[in-house]
Structures are given as C-alpha cells and as structure tokens.
C-alpha cells in the first residue's frame, strides 16, 4: 500500500490487539477470542467485541437483549471465573524492523 495509507497503518498497528476470554473454573471454558483496539495505553483501556464474554454472563447470553434492553452491563454481570487476556504487537515500524536484523527463519506455527 502506498504512502497515502501510512498514518492509518501506523495507527492500526499501534492500537490493534487480540483479546481472549476463558474460564478459570474446574471445567475450563474457552478460549474465545476476537480483535480489539487499545484506546488509551496510559489508562490501559481496551475495547473489543462483546461476544467473547457472552458465555460468561451470569444471566446467560440472552442478557444481551437485541431490542430495547439495557445499553450496558457492569462487570458483575459476568462470572467471577472469567479471565481476560490482551495481546498486542510491537508494530512494523523502523524500531520493530531493527529488532529483526539477523533473525531469518521460518516462523513456527
């Protein structure tokens, strides 16, 4: 992609992250995962899709009413065993590329 997209690519790579949700109970559930956005690194605020925590809602996934139900649910709406993890990358900027020098191998997958 051209220079035109530089600011968008940089912003995306700075803000892009992956969020995972899993249960910590005896019968571990999940993980469910989706993409997310690091809104504010200083405050550590992350926004992601709500579907990944739906299986942990105390009232069941039906609590996310599609109609005229509540427009928000507090943290108590989810079970205590919900564990959330956020992973983000260093980006592909010059600094990140510098870290790569001399590192040539096939990525394990």
């Amino acid at each position: 992609m051209g220079r035109r997209w530089g600011p968008a690519m940089a912003a995306g790579e700075r803000a892009g992250c992956v969020v995972s949700a899993r249960g910590a109970g005896a019968e571990a559930e999940g993980p469910w995962s989706c993409s997310g956005v690091l809104l504010n690194r200083r405050a550590g605020l992350v926004l992601c899709h709500g579907g990944i925590v739906a299986p942990f809602l105390r009232a069941g996934p039906g609590a996310l009413q599609p109609g005229t139900g509540p427009s928000f649910l507090g943290p108590d709406s989810c079970r205590d065993d919900l564990r959330l993890y956020v992973q983000w990358g260093p980006g592909r900027g010059p600094r990140a590329r510098a870290e790569l020098r001399g590192a040539l191998c096939t990525p394990p997958c």
Partner: protein
C-alpha cells in the same frame, strides 16, 4: 520469527459491556422486523449451532444479540515502557466521512490463533453505506476480526468491526458491519459515569472529537455537505411494479437502467433519487429485446431531477484502474445506495471496441442498472449482473459484468438530441461475436499450442 513477536498476553479486567442504542435501532430497522430477506452474520461469540436454520434471520438468539455489544477492559499490568512515547489515538465522527471514503481495517483473523502470523492484518476498502452509527465497508474481513479498529486515511479511528461477514438470502454480501467509534465511545462513557467510574469516563470522553461530544446533528450536517456533488448521487432506485433495481441519471429527465429492472416499454416506473429529493414518475421509452445480450432500458421522466451531478462519460477503459460501483443492492430504499470499490478487472473487446467490463467490486442483487465509475467520477458503464456457479449455486459478488458506456453513448446522444429511438434499437442487433461474449462462450480464435 520473521515478524517481531507479539507481547506476551497481559491480564485485563472487564469494566463494562456496552452497546450503542442508535446502532441497535439502525440494525433493527435494516435487518430485523419485516425484512423478508434472511440475513446471517458471523459473530464474535461461540460457534453457531450446527442447525443452520436456528442461526438464520432476526431471531438468531445470543449470537446475533451480542453483535452490537462491545466489552471495555482495563489492562492490569500496563508497563511504563509501553506508555512512553505512544501517540494518542484519535477518533473521527463517522458521520463526517462521505460514502466512498477509503478505510483501513486492522484486525487479527481467527482471533488469538497464531498471533505472530495474523496479528494486525490490514484490509482496505471504502465506507460503503451508513445508517446512523451502523456502517458498512467492503474491506474484506475474516472471522476473528470482530472488534477490530477501522481507520481513516489520516489514521483516526472511525469504527469497530461488529460482524465481518454478512449473507443475505444465502448469498455472501461481501460487506462487513461496523459500529461507529464515536457513538460507541459516547455510550460507553455515559455507562462508565453511571457505574461511578468517573476517571475512566473522562479518559474515554477525551478521545471523542469535539462535535461528537455534543449532539449527533452536527456530524449529520457535515455528511450532507461533504456528499454534495459526489458522483454517486447520480445513482437512482428504479421501481417497476414489484420489481426494483438501480439506475443512473444521465440528464434531468433521462435515466438508464437494466431491462430486467424495467422490462416493458410504455410501462410507468418510479424513480427515487439518492438525494432527499422526492421520487419522480417516468416511462420506459426503450428496453432491449429479451434476445439482446445488452440488458438495457431507458426511462424518460415526467419531471426533472434536481440537485444531481450528472456524470461525465468515460472515454477510456483501462484494466486495473480503481473503480467503484453504486447500487441499491443491499438495502433498497431503506439505506440509500451502497458504494463498493475495486478495480476494472477485465475489458472484453470485439473488433477493438469494449463490449463488456468486469470489476472486483462487490455487487449484490438489486444493484443491476447501477453506475460503474472511475475513481475520478467518470461513468464507465452500468452493472448488469454478478456471477453464479450454477453447478454449486454459489454467487460471487466480486466478479460482475457491466455494459460499457461506449456501447450505449452514440445511441443515447442521438436520443437526447432528437428523441429518435431507432439508434437505440440497434442494441437489439449486436454482432454474433458480442452475443457469444455475453453468453460467456467465446473461445480463442486459435487453439493454444502446447509449448511442451
């Protein structure tokens, strides 16, 4: 690894689950209620049940219900090193972007699967349509990119992916569903205040652009201003009895559409402009015969269309150039025309004259008759069809066919000058070579020789 390794996962805690009421209202209006088409979405929750019937339509249940919901988290071990020097994310009001504005999505296909390979994959498209904070883009998104950020060319956050894949009546639509970031953050900030989390609410509100902190009326006005004069405003919705499709206004009283939208001459049709102007009645003055490969109809309007920038016809057809298609395919009258972007993937010529255009733009049922524009707004042709594999029933929205304006322009010019229909009737008598092309039956003039 070849890419810099992602950071180790950091623990986070849930602050709240929020949805945007305006998004929900727009969603219900477009996809729920009495809409007869069966919409399906790929959601961010657990896998849908095996029984496909239970995941179809507006009664999809938890998966669909979670579609407009987003989770706000707080990292529990954000290090000082991460914080230092990280530029602040900016948010742009979605309503300030016109249809067709370029967008970039940055998400991780398959979620947490193999982040060293898939983390922050980029995809490019345009803002295809908008209904309040419900946005659609033609950027290709995959399952796992739910929640991904969508950015303007300036690097401002525009929206988050709500559903990466949509199907209507079992046909892949090729659009991803987005929720405007400004509306979502406003809702989340309000919810945080109600939960007594004032500091977090302030952090979120600080991300909002000034106009988005006020009312939504301002950005809507901005959108109208920015869209004034846009080429796609020449697209119109054409209703002919129970059939509807798209068309393009070429002059104040002249609309071009497809024969299969307005099939019978002398038939009255209702033409609805993409602007807020009232609909205008018209009459089909010409439609090609069923035997003609050129699927064209010409409508003469009873009144003049106002406030429409009538398009300049393209005089060249360059394979590989950026193009966009405008059509009412996905939502008909409910949401105005959709803009989808791509390239001119093929120009098929007969005797060195273009007779068929192909594009990679996403085209859906209802887009027929809609205009195909160059990136500078010149009219290349009108859409007639996308592609279906009759053996599998699969529809391919990203391979579609258009009639070049070069084929139609001489006869249309004469009709506009003299009212004479005879030149248009020549479209009923194309050469056999043209017929063969449109039957997708052309074979090479000389069989390929083996090079072995």
């Amino acid at each position: 690894s070849a890419q810099p390794a992602p950071r180790s996962p950091a623990c986070a805690r849930l602050l709240l689950l929020a949805c945007c009421p305006a998004f929900r209202a727009s969603f219900a209006r477009l996809f729920g209620g009495d809409v007869p088409e069966q919409w399906r979405f790929a959601g961010g929750g657990p896998e849908p049940p095996e029984d496909e019937a239970s995941t179809s339509g507006a009664d999809e249940g938890p998966l669909l219900a979670a579609l407009g919901w987003f989770a706000l988290l707080r990292l529990e071990d954000c290090t000082v090193k991460e914080v230092m020097g990280s530029p602040r994310l900016s948010v742009v009001p979605a309503a300030s972007l016109p249809k067709g504005a370029p967008l970039l999505t940055c998400g991780s296909p398959f979620g947490a699967f193999c982040p060293d390979i898939f983390l922050n994959s980029l995809s490019r498209g345009v803002l295809s349509n908008a209904a309040g904070p419900l946005l659609l883009t033609d950027a290709r998104c995959l399952p796992g990119t739910e929640g991904a950020g969508v950015f303007s060319t300036h690097g401002a956050l525009v929206a988050l992916v709500a559903a990466p894949l949509c199907w209507r009546a079992r046909e892949w639509v090729g659009l991803s569903l987005l929720c405007a970031a400004d509306a979502l953050l406003r809702s989340a900030a309000l919810a945080l205040r109600r939960l007594g989390l004032q500091a977090e609410a302030k952090e979120l509100a600080a991300l909002l652009p000034r106009q988005a902190r006020d009312t939504s009326a301002g950005p809507q006005r901005a959108q109208v201003l920015q869209e004034h004069g846009a080429a796609w405003l020449a697209a119109v919705l054409v209703e002919c009895g129970s059939v509807w499709g798209s068309g393009v206004a070429l002059a104040p009283r002249l609309v071009l559409t497809c024969r299969h939208v307005a099939p019978r001459e002398n038939k009255r049709v209702l033409v609805r402009p993409a602007t807020k102007s009232p609909p205008v009645w018209g009459e089909v003055v010409f439609a090609t015969q069923d035997t003609s490969p050129y699927d064209v109809a010409v409508v003469k309007l009873e009144e003049s269309l106002k406030g429409i920038p009538f398009p300049v016809l393209a005089s060249y057809f360059h394979e590989g150039e950026d193009v966009c298609v405008v059509g009412f395919g996905a939502f008909g009258q409910a949401c105005g025309p959709s803009v989808t972007s791509g390239i001119l993937s093929a120009v098929v010529e007969v005797n060195e004259a273009p007779v068929m255009l192909q594009t990679t733009c996403a085209v859906h049922g209802g887009s027929s008759g809609g205009p195909l524009f160059t990136s500078s707004g010149e009219l290349l042709g009108i859409i007639t069809s996308n592609t279906r594999d009759n053996s599998t029933g699969a529809t391919y929205p990203h391979l579609n066919f258009s009639i070049p304006m070069a084929v139609l322009q001489p006869a249309l010019s004469q009709y506009r000058c003299t009212g004479e229909l005879l030149p248009l009737r020549e479209l009923d008598r194309p050469s056999e070579q043209v017929r063969v092309v449109w039957r997708l039956q052309r074979v090479p003039a000389q069989p390929h020789q083996s090079k072995l």
